[in-house]
């Protein structure tokens, strides 16, 4: 019996229970509130492309950067038992590096964009490796280690473009940040799918998942089984670096400019939250990247729902906090354990009653 309750709340689908319930509640709530909330229509945008529009599209599109960062953050969390709070600042650096290359020539060709993307990735990976070295080699707490880049990252981004906030316009960037002509689905959504598939492939083609979980659950045992935990931790930060670069470049492409102060501002906390809502243990160990992606959409859906309810943008944060408290407390080990104990007690009481009944008869 105990096992059964463990199965429901502990593992398997268990980890995804809370995020799925959360998203289901949000959907149902919106359906009751306003059935037209989920209507999607095919319209034409300024460029004359036929594109999908509607609240649902806004939610899924808007959560793209968050979802990509959450995937990388899941790995860091699982391996290191801590979080990287510098992802927003690092994304600003990567975005600035991206713009720097785009601005280097007279015109922006497809080749320049690819080179700029690769450059942004390399820059973000280097900063990821910096964070990773502090955590894996020098054994500094992840939050403290990444506090450094969190603090100075946007200044570095400022220096890269000499303090300016240059605009970059190109149909290619619009194709990345908005729509590819002929495809009605926003490109960032497609990028999320591609990144998700790549994660899946990496898990299939390497031992990353097994090694990361082993290091996160029991570092001693992992080491005694020959796993190089320093490498695994470092790798998780470098992979997060790639995610940061992709998110940063999407952000730049959406706006057509780099603003080092506002690009993906405050996204680090939402990213960590997405990982937590996804049912991943922030102390490391077993993880599900899928959970974090759902977590990202939960956060975005919550925000858009509140906006749709005409909650002012200043109040949104407070309402969001209330919902998040509920989610996090319900998902906490204490509540899970109490709930499990309550179920056991009910069962044993029932068992006792039956035994007593049997004795009497």
């Amino acid at each position: 019996m105990n096992n059964k309750s463990k199965n429901i709340f502990g593992n398997g689908l268990g980890q995804l229970t809370i995020p799925i319930i959360a998203i289901a509640i949000l959907v149902i709530f919106n359906l009751i509130r306003d059935p037209s909330f989920f209507s999607i229509e095919l319209t034409h945008n300024n460029e004359g492309n036929s594109v999908l529009a509607g609240n649902l599209i806004t939610i899924i599109n808007g959560a793209s950067e968050l979802a990509i960062l959450a995937m990388g953050m899941t790995l860091v969390t699982a391996a290191c038992g801590g979080q990287d709070i510098s992802v927003g600042a690092a994304a600003a650096i990567a975005g600035s590096a991206f713009v720097k290359i785009l601005k280097s020539g007279d015109s922006i060709s497809a080749g320049t964009v690819i080179i700029a993307l690769l450059f942004a990735c390399i820059v973000a990976m280097i900063f990821g490796a910096f964070n990773g070295t502090l955590v894996a080699v020098f054994k500094i707490q992840p939050m403290i280690a990444t506090l450094i880049l969190y603090t100075c990252g946007r200044s570095i981004a400022y220096w890269i473009n000499g303090g300016a906030t240059p605009t970059v316009t190109s149909p290619i960037l619009d194709a990345i940040g908005k729509f590819i002509p002929g495809i009605p689905v926003p490109t960032p959504v497609i990028i999320v799918i591609i990144v998700g598939v790549i994660f899946k492939l990496v898990f299939r083609l390497t031992s990353l998942e097994l090694f990361t979980q082993s290091v996160g659950i029991n570092g001693n045992a992992a080491r005694l089984n020959g796993i190089n935990s320093t490498f695994v931790k470092l790798l998780s930060f470098i992979i997060l670096g790639i995610c940061v670069a992709i998110a940063g470049c999407i952000g730049v492409s959406r706006l057509g400019l780099i603003n080092h102060e506002t690009l993906l501002i405050d996204i680090e906390m939402d990213t960590i939250l997405a990982v937590a809502i996804g049912g991943n243990n922030l102390g490391g160990g077993k993880f599900k990247v899928g959970g974090s992606i759902i977590g990202a959409y939960v956060i975005q859906m919550l925000t858009i729902t509140l906006y749709a309810m005409k909650v002012s943008s200043t109040d949104v944060k407070a309402y969001k906090a209330v919902v998040i408290i509920l989610l996090v407390v319900i998902g906490s080990p204490v509540v899970k354990e109490k709930f499990g104990k309550m179920m056991n007690k009910l069962r044993s009481r029932r068992a006792k009653v039956t035994v007593k009944g049997a004795e009497r008869s």
Binding site: N3, T206, L210, Q213, A221, N225, K286
Partner: protein, 499 residues
């Protein structure tokens, strides 16, 4: 000459899920006595102490102090009853001063009068002849001094019963002597001291009485002068000296003409003193000695589990470097760690993932074992080793101890090692599984695998090993083969000295 009785524990019983940790244990401490509490791992020493200090609640029995029954529900209760404990790891605050540490949590007023406390501390330290001053930062003092400060704090809180749990394990000889002097002084002042240690010589140096526990039961209480060291060992391990003669090692002795698989000279690690060791192909040998004798540390050095400091190692006659576990694994060495929970299982991962882990690591990062292949491996070993699990996807942490151990054995068997080191593979598991594991060891040896088998149950080692290396106080003190492989001889070598 008997001093008045200070503390009595009667019929103490403590259950943990599935185990009776203490069964009807009595313990008596007199005023002004140093009383050693002895027993191997799992004997119940620490459980008994934790009951006395309020960490655990007993399920049955009675505790009296100076004839009055006391109820201890929390460490605070214990302190109020005059029971203080100084643990192996210092539990004081290293960044505060000695004086602050001595008076923390029991200041009379909200204002901390630093100077006054320092003066008071100096007075106490002087009286106890502890060579430090109240104004010093505790963390700057040696471990021995820190321990003594902890004791001084306890003494100043009017403790009647002082529990010292492995106080000497990280001290050097000089420091140990300092500590012993302090213990004798306190004894003279009428404090009753319970001394827990695994260093046999130290027991005899300071103790008046010895109480031996084994498997949660009381073996007996003896005046230290009436219990020779070799008999103490026998009582701890649980065999009478007469019973031992019949048993003989059944592992084949291949040391005469067999091929040497592994050889180490002057191998040392951060935990192990330099030692020489070799093992032949298809040989089963054992390391024996009491807990803390260095047996586990030595095999960890072989596997590269701790930082290796020096020595030359040859595998199959070729000089090799083994400084990390992965090096050892690549040379065909597997290691089942002593502490299954801490160093063995990945509790939240499935039986399947735990079984393939070592093989996967050896295969490398880019050659993952496919799902179907890993399922086949898991099914195979679940069947061969008869692992009782709901399914191969069950988290290994929810299995019983014996089955967890089998999963780790499966993990190493799957790598097809040439040399398998098993450190306490039979600890804390049921008798049936113990026997299965011993049979497995002999079968592996027949197939040409070298095995190092460590067990605190000497009988198990005699049944499986053809050569026993005996350690005491971190040194190899003997090597027994052939005729000498009997319990009496093993005990004598472990105990050493006069026996």
């Amino acid at each position: 000459m008997d001093n008045p009785i200070l503390l009595t524990m009667r019929h103490i019983e403590k259950r943990f899920p599935g185990v009776l940790a203490l069964n009807n244990v009595d313990f008596t401490l007199r005023k002004g006595e140093i009383h050693a509490l002895m027993g191997e791992n799992g004997a119940g020493k620490s459980t008994l102490i934790k009951i006395l200090t309020g960490v655990y609640q007993m399920d049955g029995g009675e505790v009296q102090i100076e004839g009055k029954p006391v109820v201890i529900h929390s460490p605070q209760d214990a302190q109020n009853s005059g029971i203080s404990t100084v643990y192996q790891e210092i539990t004081l605050c290293p960044n505060l001063t000695v004086a602050e540490n001595m008076f923390i949590g029991r200041e009379d007023s909200a204002w901390i009068q630093r100077k006054e406390y320092e003066k008071k501390a100096d007075e106490i330290l002087g009286r106890l002849e502890i060579p430090t001053r109240g104004a010093r930062i505790l963390g700057r003092c040696s471990l021995a001094i820190q321990q003594m400060v902890a004791i001084a704090r306890a003494v100043d809180m009017n403790c009647k019963v002082l529990i010292l749990d492995e106080p000497t394990s990280s001290l050097d000889d000089k420091e140990v002597n300092m500590l012993f002097k302090l213990m004798r002084d306190l004894k003279a002042q009428g404090v009753g001291i319970i001394f827990v240690t695994h260093f046999l010589e130290q027991v005899y140096e300071v103790s008046d009485r010895i109480t031996v526990l084994r498997n949660g039961e009381l073996v007996g209480e003896y005046p230290a002068s009436d219990l020779p060291q070799v008999e103490l060992v026998a009582k701890m391990i649980g065999k009478n000296l007469d019973e031992f003669s019949a048993l003989k090692g059944s592992g084949k002795d291949v040391s005469k003409n067999g091929e040497v698989f592994y050889e180490a000279e002057e191998l040392s690690s951060s935990q192990a003193l330099p030692f020489d060791f070799k093992i032949h192909k298809g040989e089963v040998n054992g390391f024996t000695g009491l807990l803390g004798s260095g047996r586990s540390e030595s095999v960890r050095a072989i596997f590269g589990a701790d930082k290796v400091n020096g020595g030359t190692v040859k595998v199959k006659g070729e000089p090799v470097k083994i400084t990390r576990p992965i090096d050892a694994m690549k040379h065909g060495i597997g290691y089942l760690a002593e502490d299954r929970k801490r160093d063995g299982i990945i509790a939240e991962l499935s039986v399947r993932e735990n079984i393939i882990l070592a093989l996967q690591v050896m295969n490398g990062f880019f050659k993952p074992i496919s799902r179907s292949e890993s399922e086949a491996f898991a099914d195979e070993y679940i069947k061969v080793l008869q692992i009782k699990t709901a399914s191969r996807e069950t988290p290994v942490g929810s299995l019983s101890g014996g089955n967890q151990q089998k999963v780790i054995l499966a993990r190493w068997l799957l790598t097809h090692p040439d040399y398998l080191i098993l450190d306490e593979p039979t600890r804390g598991i049921d008798v049936g599984t113990k026997l299965e594991i011993q049979k497995l060891v002999l079968k592996l040896a027949e197939e040409g695998v070298s095995v190092t088998f460590i067990s605190s149950e000497v009988e198990e080692m005699l049944r499986t090993c053809s050569r026993l290396i005996v350690m005491r106080d971190r040194h190899i003190v003997g090597e027994l083969t052939g005729e000498d492989l009997n319990q009496a001889q093993v005990m004598k070598t472990i105990a050493g000295g006069e026996a």
